[in-house]
């Protein structure tokens, strides 16, 4: 059976409203895109939706108690809450440099959590 799914493309600020035809988990057709990235987005969103997740972790000895971090690539949506639980267990010591790996291969995804900025030691 062919199902119609409505989506908003998040690839660029335009936010096109897309309609995808899906059959047995396969995306047959996508309409409403203003550019070809819309189709790629719809296919990914309907088969393996992922998001970049940015957050903070505890750090001692720095000018602030929190260090901003981000995933190095988008992670599966279903793992976001588990990722947050992992981040809550992290406790670092300053200094840290931007792009330092904070958690490697998080939840076995092959994706790292990295520092978004330097944190100087005080």
């Amino acid at each position: 059976m062919i199902e119609e799914k409505k989506l908003i493309c998040v690839t660029c600020p335009r936010g096109c409203q897309l309609t995808a035809e899906v059959e047995d988990g396969c995306v047959l057709d996508v309409s409403g895109c203003s550019c070809k990235r819309g189709k790629t987005y719809a296919e990914a969103e309907l088969t393996d939706p992922r998001r970049m997740i940015a957050s903070t972790v505890r750090i001692s000895g720095g000018i602030h108690p929190m260090l901003p971090v981000t995933t190095s690539a988008p992670i599966p949506k279903g793992l976001i809450l588990q990722l947050m639980a992992v981040l809550r267990t992290v406790d670092l010591q300053a200094p840290v440099r931007m792009n330092d790996v904070i958690v490697s291969n998080v939840l076995g995804t092959g994706i790292d959590v990295i520092a978004s900025a330097d944190m100087e030691k005080v």
Partner: protein, 424 residues
Amino acid sequence: MNLTELFDVIVIGAGPAGLAAGIAAREQGCDRVLIIDRDIEAGGILQQCVHSGFGLETFKEDLPGPSYAQRFIDQAKAAGVNFLLDTMVLNVTRDFQVTVSGARIGLKVLNAKAVVLAMGCRERSRAQIRVPGTRPAGVYTAGTAQRWVNIDGLMPGKRFVILGSGDIGMIMARRLTLEGAEVARVVEIMPYLSGLSRNLVQCLQDYDIPLFLNHTVSRIYGNRRVEAVEVSAVDGQRNPLPGTAERIECDTLLLSVGLIPENELTRKAGVKMDQRIGGPVVDNTYSTSVPGLFVAGNVVHVYDLVDYVSQAGTKAGRSAADFVHGRWLGLQKTIPVQGGAEVRSVVPQLICPESLKTEEIVLQLRVSSPLERSVEIVVQAPDDTIIAKRRLPYARPGEMVSISIPSDAYNLAAKAERLIVSLV
């Protein structure tokens, strides 16, 4: 760094606008460039914007705010820009005396040959939107909450209602949810979303946070702390409709109801202001009405993309260097640029046609209502001569649009007594 010697350029504010201005002034041959900020670190508002979405234009990468800032901080340090942090600027005069106060240096007056003002913007607060009810603790702006959560590691509450569907509000809805709080709903008085629809998807829909358009917070309950808010539907005039009120239990109300340029220092310096925008009137060199006082970033008008803030900073920094070296063009004749049909505001408000001899001039505008159709931006002289035009697939109030006046339009622009920009 010797604070008593004369500086070439002093930049006020170490956000992306100020950093870019400082770097550009150094690159244009100014030896003594100083950036002053009241915060203990450079980076401005970007330090609290831990989410990604920055730098797609500048670096062709989707960076978190602090990473975007870090790249500019590293560049500024490498370029030999001096920093004076943890220092508040109290006053700037028309002859470039800058009064500062800081815990380490006390009260001092610094001197420069040119100044760039890059103080950013602040958020509209409860006083400016007038929500009735009690005045308990637990009503904050979304940006204040963002700072507590992302920089200080403090949670302002457990159950939230957010008023306003601006990007900062939606981004905070997601952030608070990820940190274990509950966001009961986001309420927007207008019939349309004020932020980007990608944030509706990534920040609200992903976490099943309900959005109520055409609704507002009509009352706040609670004595010492917020206990609940009343949410009502609104009519076409944005007044609450009787009989639609609903009580939503929450301990915190966040306001994401817009930003205003931070221009206390600018006003005190006697600079001419654009009342509609709340920022100074500028020309295409980012000069204010006071020669040698330049401005960049959110002090001029509120940008939605940081990349354009950095570009403006670069431009202002170059102009300041030109001024210091006696080659600034802005003293030539300028002509006004006016907003026509569908244009709410336009920056710069003045252009110096002579500049077209060396480079194009970019006009940035905001439209007054959403235009979900193919539209054309047209720049005309009063006699309807077309100076420039550009077609866009759509235009929305939340997204700044721009048009450039090409160098070859010099002859036409130089003849006009003013320019009118409109959308058709």
